[in-house]
Each structure stands twice: as structure tokens, then as C-alpha cells.
């Protein structure tokens, strides 16, 4: 039962995880967070801008589903623990190899879930890059998981058929009989007297998952913001038009008011080099769109952005149909102080260099004087405190 929930849930985590990697357009510029990927990036495609909520939904699902499945994973590991102490540990070569592959499965599962959880909580008790660890760990886990699914699916089907869910849901603890031990089975050989029914166990695990969902979903759904009591993000910044999540503060990025003041210029590079002050940018045609901003860490929100189309800026730099644009921030030390957007992303009429949000100037923490906002792009590619855009043409 727990296994079948994971059998559905884990492939969703895998697919949304791979989608997230693809959304960074890792083949462009310095975008790749795991340059050592080798053939493990075979599925990459140029990232899309439609629908604009695709990254929001996909990455929100990845993170929230991962959190919600954590109790199921722990319960599953708990239920198979009698196997760990099975004796003798080696019965045949086949048996030994199968057990060795469990390191990929169990180590991989716990490693992936907890590196993911710690990352969204900004807790880094390690020196390696989270991106490297979570990406390669996922592939190691995936191969262990696949082998396990292939070997155990007949077993899963037999187990699901052996009991009727409806009958189990009517069985209280008084009538609960432990699973009889089998030669290579999962059931404990000498179980204690039952203190909880199978129905109760499913209820506890389901209830725990639901509790986690209720306490975190609000970071990805605007209307539920106040319920995200344990979600790392989803907290209030005290109301007003710029009350939404910040992923790197101006202070942390070392953005001082003197560099974003009157002396600030946006430099456009292409066949033509152009410099624009903020009033000059504001005098260009302004466009307003409601677009989501969605972080790889799972939180997301939809806001109303106003500014100049990236396509218009490309034209000013003499790049009618650019292949890509390399955007650089005043934040020189951040991991995402630069990003390369594809020509496809630039050409979307909703892709903006935003100057205002919800009717007011961007706040310093949201990227004043100007930031990029591209539909469906991962949050870190919506570069804040933009200083230069270099358009590449064929």
C-alpha cells in the first residue's frame, strides 16, 4: 500500500526534478549548475514560456509533494526494516547483489529527500554544491529505484491482492492479526501483540502527510499564505504592494543606494551599444502583465509587473532576433548574479525588464532599479539589479 503510493509519487518527483533542471536552459552560457552532467542531460530542450505557470506548478509540485511523501517514505522504510536484520545476510550471489543495490535505493531515497528538505530550509551542513548532490544523487537513486520496481512489482501486486482495502478499513485493532512470517518475507518473525490496526497505520501515515501538506502548501498558493506555518517561505513582509517573498536581500547582495541612484545606467550590448538611465527606460513603451515568480525552492506567487519588453531592448541594441542575452546584475558575488536567456524567451512579448511591481517602484530587495521577469522562467533567472544585457546575434 505504502509502496504503491511511492510508486506513483516518486516518478512525479523525478519528472518534475528533471523538468526543473531543463528550465535553467543549461546549454546556454554559464547557466548549467552541474556542468559534469555527461549523458545525464540527454533530455534537455529549450525551455518554454507557455503556459506562464508551468514552472510554478511543476516546481511547487516537486517540493510540496516531496515534503508530503516524507512520512510515507519513513513509514515504508519502517515497514521493511525486519529485512535489514535478515540472517544470514548473504545466501547467494543474486541475493548479495540485490542487497547491495538497496544502498542506492535506501541511501538514495533518504539522501534525496533530506538534501531537498535542508536546501529549502537554507541549512547546509556540507561543503558540496546542493545542485551537484541532488542531481547526481537523483540518478543514483533512480537506478536503484528502477531495479527495485522491476524486481518487486509482482510482489506488490500479490500483496495488494492478498487483502481487500475495504475489509482492512473495517478491521479494528482487536481483530488485527500480524502478517504470518514467510521464508523471505517482510513480516517480522516474532511480532509483538498488535497495538494498532492496518487501518490505523494507514490513517496515521495519511494524517501525517495531510498535516505536512496543510502546513506548507501556502508557500505556493497565494490564497493560503497564512496557513504555511512550517513552510520555510510564505511569511509576510508586513503588507503593501511589495509584500512577497525575497530570495536574496539587497543587503546580502551588497547593493548600496549610491550605485542604484541617479548614476545607475542600464548598458545594452549588441551590434550597437546603448546606455539608458531609469527615467529614459520609463519613457519607453511600458507594458504590464500578471506573471508568477516561482523559486526552485518551491515557493511561488503571482504579481503584476510593469516595464519595458526585452524584445524592445534587443532592437535598441541592434539585435532584431537575438540568439540569447547574457544578463548581468550589480550583484557580482551571488551564485545567480548572471543568467543567459534564450532568444525564444526574449521574443515572448510578456518578457520584461520590470521597473515597477503592483503599481509602485520595485523595492531594493525586489531588484530596484530594474529586474528581469520572464514567463515560466525559474526565479533565479529573473535577475535583479540588472546592470548590463549583452545580446548575441548569429
Amino acid at each position: 500500500m505504502l509502496g504503491s503510493v511511492l510508486l506513483i509519487g516518486i516518478p512525479i518527483l523525478v519528472v518534475t526534478g528533471l523538468v526543473s533542471y531543463a528550465s535553467y536552459n543549461p546549454r546556454l552560457g554559464h547557466n548549467d549548475t552541474t556542468p559534469a552532467r555527461g549523458v545525464l542531460g540527454f533530455y534537455l530542450f529549450s525551455w518554454i514560456t507557455n503556459p506562464s505557470w508551468i514552472y510554478r506548478v511543476s516546481q511547487g509540485t516537486h517540493v510540496i509533494l516531496g515534503l508530503v511523501l516524507t512520512p510515507v517514505l519513513l513509514a515504508k522504510l519502517w515497514s521493511v526494516i525486519p529485512r535489514l536484520f535478515a540472517w544470514p545476510p548473504i545466501r547467494s550471489i543474486a541475493y548479495a547483489l540485490e542487497r547491495a543495490s538497496l544502498v542506492l535505493l535506501v541511501g538514495g531515497a533518504v539522501f534525496e529527500f533530506f538534501t531537498g528538505i535542508f536546501n529549502v530550509e537554507y541549512f547546509y551542513p556540507w561543503k558540496f554544491s546542493f545542485y551537484d548532490a541532488h542531481f547526481f544523487g537523483a540518478w543514483a537513486f533512480l537506478v536503484g529505484f528502477t531495479v527495485h520496481v522491476v524486481l518487486k512489482t509482482p510482489r506488490l501486486m500479490a500483496a495488494l491482492r492478498s487483502r481487500s482495502l475495504r475489509a482492512e478499513l473495517r478491521t479494528g485493532v482487536a481483530e488485527t492479526v500480524p502478517e504470518p512470517p514467510e521464508p523471505d518475507g517482510l513480516a517480522p518473525v516474532a511480532p509483538s501483540a498488535p497495538t494498532i490496526s492496518r487501518r490505523g497505520l494507514l490513517g496515521v501515515v495519511g494524517g501525517a502527510s495531510f498535516t505536512v501538506l496543510a502546513l506548507t502548501l501556502g508557500e505556493s498558493v497565494d490564497g493560503l499564505r497564512g496557513t504555511a506555518l512550517l513552510a520555510p517561505r510564505g511569511r509576510s513582509y508586513g503588507g503593501g504592494p511589495t509584500d512577497f517573498q525575497v530570495n536574496r536581500t539587497a543587503a546580502a547582495a551588497g547593493i548600496r543606494p549610491d550605485v542604484t541612484g541617479d548614476s545607475w545606467r542600464l548598458v545594452l550590448r549588441g551590434p550597437v551599444v546603448h546606455q539608458l538611465s531609469r527615467p529614459e527606460l520609463l519613457s519607453l513603451p511600458q507594458h504590464t502583465y500578471r506573471l508568477p515568480i516561482a523559486c526552485v525552492e518551491g515557493w511561488s506567487t503571482e504579481q503584476t509587473w510593469s516595464g519595458v519588453r526585452l524584445a524592445d531592448l534587443a532592437r535598441m541594441a541592434g539585435a532584431r532576433a537575438p540568439v540569447s542575452v547574457y544578463v548581468q546584475s550589480l550583484d557580482e558575488n551571488g551564485a545567480f548574479g548572471r543568467a543567459t536567456l534564450s532568444g525564444y524567451q526574449v521574443s515572448d512579448s510578456r518578457s520584461l525588464l520590470a521597473l515597477r511591481v503592483n503599481g509602485v517602484d520595485l523595492s531594493p530587495d525586489h531588484g530596484y532599479p530594474a529586474r528581469v521577469i520572464v514567463p515560466a522562467a525559474p526565479g533565479v533567472h529573473n535577475t535583479k539589479w540588472v546592470r548590463q544585457m549583452s545580446f548575441e546575434v548569429d
Binding site: G38, I93, K127, T146
Partner: protein, 162 residues
């Protein structure tokens, strides 16, 4: 073929599957070796399995055994067992702690603050309040069941925890 099968202990397909599995895992390891602190990734990967199997599991099992040993005073034979009414809120609270302890204990305070501009202060209080809420709800439910069981008298044993 049959000899191979007997020596190996399973079908040939099993061998092919696992050989493929380890070959692919080997490729992943080769890729990981290209990144900084690769050895540390390996250590954490193996530690993840070991920590669960040999630390978390024995700890939970021991705590549960101790809980079950406590003989709870029950003047009435018909009283429903209390064990799950303690175990389930404890489990929920423990699960939330396991998943959110970096926020609850403020372990990532510096990175959290530089990212968000906020502190992790509120999380400890929230977790404690949730824990208190779980126990209060569970014990309230127990009280209701106890009253119901007493009303029904000592004859029936139907109201057991499920």
C-alpha cells in the same frame, strides 16, 4: 545455463538487471568525481542509509517500547487503551521536528536571513504550539472515548483504538 542459474541463485535476467544497475551507478560515480567535494557527497549518501537504519530506527523503536511499558492506571476494564493517544501526537510532533528542525532550532539562520531578510525566530514557537495542539486534541478525544466507554458500562470492548 542451468548451472549458471544455480550458481548465481536467480534468473539470468536478474543478473543482467543488476549488472546494468551497477554499471549505470558506476557512470554516475564517475560523473560525481568531477565535482568539488565529491567524496563528501559519497559519505553523505551512504550515511543517509546508515543513519536511518542504525540510529533513527533503533531510537524510535526504543522510545516506543518504553512507552508501551508504562502501565497506565485504568480503574475500569472497559477503558480504551491510551497508548495510541500518546503515540500518535508524539509521532506527528517528532515527524515535524525531523523535517523542520533546521528552522525550529535556527540552524540555517545566517543563510536564511541573507536570503529572506527575516529571522527563523517564529518557527520554534509554531512547532511547540502545534505539538501542544496535537496532544490536546488527542487527549480530548481520549476523554470523550473514556466517558462513552463508562456510559456503556464495563461489558463491551468495542471502543478500542483503531
Amino acid at each position: 545455463m542451468e548451472r549458471l542459474r544455480r550458481a548465481y541463485g536467480a534468473r539470468t535476467a536478474h543478473l543482467l538487471l543488476l549488472a546494468g544497475c551497477f554499471a549505470f551507478a558506476g557512470y554516475v560515480v564517475d560523473r560525481v568525481l568531477q565535482v568539488p567535494y565529491a567524496w563528501m557527497i559519497g559519505v553523505y549518501f551512504v550515511a543517509a542509509a546508515v543513519l536511518h537504519d542504525f540510529v533513527l530506527f533503533p531510537f524510535d523503536a526504543l522510545a516506543d517500547r518504553l512507552l508501551r511499558r508504562i502501565r497506565l492506571p485504568s480503574a475500569h476494564g472497559a477503558a480504551p487503551p491510551l497508548v495510541n493517544h500518546i503515540r500518535i501526537p508524539a509521532l506527528l510532533s517528532g515527524l515535524l521536528f525531523l523535517m523542520f528542525f533546521p528552522l525550529v532550532l535556527g540552524l540555517g539562520e545566517r543563510t536564511y536571513r541573507s536570503a529572506t531578510g527575516l529571522g527563523t525566530g517564529p518557527y520554534l514557537g509554531r512547532w511547540l504550539l502545534l505539538t501542544a495542539g496535537f496532544f490536546a486534541a488527542s487527549l480530548l478525544l481520549y476523554a470523550c472515548r473514556l466517558v462513552a466507554a463508562r456510559r456503556r458500562g464495563s461489558g463491551k470492548m468495542e471502543a478500542r483504538s483503531g
